[in-house]
Symmetry: C2
Subunit: 355 residues, 2 copies
């Protein structure tokens, strides 16, 4: 099967964004009534994904997508915790419903109610709710809740440890994914996302975080930002700093394939071991449409992966097995679905009751 580990609900029904707008308005004017999440019907949810992510997933031969709220919409820079918590809850409830409506096509991944430098307890509470009560398989963790000003501690700081402890206990990895940039120097999709990927990797090179948390796992999206392209730089810097070779980080760090041209995917697969690459498209995400020169959609990354000379085992690792390994709750969810399908098949077989 083919698992796309990086999809966002960028096409949620408009009532969801209206709720967010009302939240922000209420922050600005306390006389306004407290906002409540908009009513959204199952049909509206079905329609919003059937015409979009589900259609594209199927057209390209994908089976399942890890599905999280729109990354640029997380807006962790808004400092009010109650607002952040209510927004994350509403966003997570919505992707949960997508997963309930299409259990074989979407597995939910959580938005966390982070705020810049804020208390992590509500963040951990929402992660526990999503994983424990709703069956989420992972989370998106924002390394810069300040939205382009980077005023919060590096990901290797003790500040984050309570969250890491919860992640390890719950057996969920985090995709390290920023939200929209509020800094005019950083275009959200063309700079801030990639910079975050690059910056966090170097933070990990500098630190012994995984010595302390050997079971913590991070997925760095967008092909790892600048990292694979500069792999020699990281190896050389690590040596100069007296740190282990960055290859050692690959026990805990994984890269997705959200790199939108053949040369980039070729480099990724040449530099990073197949066991650390997870198929992903980020669709519907940063880019829309396709390359007029090749006719290939920019984010049809499976087309690029299929052009790489990988062994059958490596290819299957990239498109499926690594995802099951990095997201053990996804693996168990898939096994459970398979078991149920078999039970159903047996039950539906003629004379089933006679056996």
């Amino acid at each position: 099967m083919i698992i796309d580990i990086h999809g966002h609900y960028t096409t949620a029904p408009p009532a969801h964004q209206r709720y967010r707008d009302e939240q922000l308005a209420a922050l600005g004017d306390p006389r306004l009534p407290p906002p409540v999440p908009g009513e959204i019907s199952d049909d509206a949810i079905r329609d919003s994904v059937e015409r979009n992510q589900l259609r594209v997933l199927r057209e390209r031969g994908g089976d399942l997508m890890l599905f999280s709220p729109k990354a640029s919409g997380m807006e962790h820079h808004v400092p009010d915790q109650a607002t952040a918590s209510a927004w994350a809850r509403a966003s997570n409830d919505l992707v949960h419903r997508v997963g309930v409506l299409f259990p074989h096509a979407f597995a939910p991944v959580a938005q966390l109610p982070q705020t810049p430098g804020g208390d992590l307890r509500p963040v951990i509470d929402e992660l526990r709710r999503c994983v424990g009560e709703l069956g989420f398989v992972g989370c998106n963790l924002n390394p810069d809740p300040s939205a382009g000003f980077w005023t919060t501690p590096p990901m290797t700081d003790e500040y984050w440890y309570p969250l890491y402890e919860a992640m390890v206990e719950l057996e969920v990895p985090a995709m390290l994914h920023v939200s929209a940039s509020c800094n005019a120097n950083f275009h959200t999709l063309g700079a801030h996302y990639l910079n975050a990927d690059t910056s966090v990797f170097m933070q990990l090179v500098e630190s012994d975080l995984f010595g302390r948390f050997p079971d913590l796992r991070f997925v760095i999206p967008h092909g790892g930002g600048a990292v694979p392209y500069h792999w020699g730089r990281y190896r050389g810097l690590a040596a100069r700093l007296g740190r282990p070779d960055p290859g050692e980080l690959l026990r805990n760090v994984f890269f997705d394939t959200c790199v939108y041209h053949q040369a980039g995917i070729d480099l990724l697969c040449r530099v990073i071991p197949a066991g650390n690459i997870l198929f992903a498209s980020e669709m519907l995400g940063a880019v829309r449409g396709g390359d007029p020169r090749t006719g290939i959609a920019w984010d049809d990354t499976l087309a690029y992966v299929d052009n790489v000379e990988l062994s059958g085992a490596d290819r299957q690792a990239v498109v499926e097995h690594n995802a099951r390994r990095v997201y053990p709750r996804l693996h168990r969810r898939l096994l459970e679905q398979q078991r149920r399908r078999e039970v159903d098949r047996v039950a539906a077989a003629p004379h089933a009751g006679l056996r």
Copy 2:
């Protein structure tokens, strides 16, 4: 000939750093005497480069290096203009002396006395002094004088226009190069440098800066940060934003080869036209030593370039001709040196006076 366009005077005699330390101390305690640049002999300068950049340049078959003050030492975040101006002047005077002592091996490139959001007139004054009086061929321009906090306007903002007008008038390009990061999230060499390269390119994608300044030229160092690896992302984003294909920027934007492994250089040369790639090593810079697996020094980028299948003309463009085109003052300097050598040869020939 082989021209390395990206070298820094990271080995300046200690008296230079002592001057900087005294500057910073004087800022903190106005009772201290006003600092003056340390006395540095020609022999000390000779020694500092002969054992370092010049030795390595020669060992690797290079002929000439564009040589600028240590990038991480520019420290544009210190807001006092008089301090910034005196520091840039002292640093530039020193690389000028290197160029005078080794005129065939080093051509000087200027540090600019930027401050965060500060007046650009002293910056332009120092550029004019360096180019007009001292024969500098280019400058390093810091897109984030706030040192990792990115509080200053994007490079496409009108704030920068007076400097761009001077650069065009003086026929000097800028390498867009940040200084040391003061933000714990960004390792200077492993994140901040690459993030700046990436961010500025996307600023250029978003803007029509070169419509207004068609003769302005930028060199983006470190192989363009994340840009060539994500070239498809930039093409897709440009299309989505209704901007021209990023290939259009290549009339004005150039990338250096400071990418420290074969796979990275291969990607750079596959994605970016040979006319936009300038050979560079950044030595003695971010990395020291070599890859134990290959025995190749990390920053021996000529070794990687020579492993790329380039036509003879393309290879010569990368290692020489592009540099002469992007830095026209370098080209004229080299022509003048050649003319003088020929005059000297004729004068030194037997019976020269009889002809």
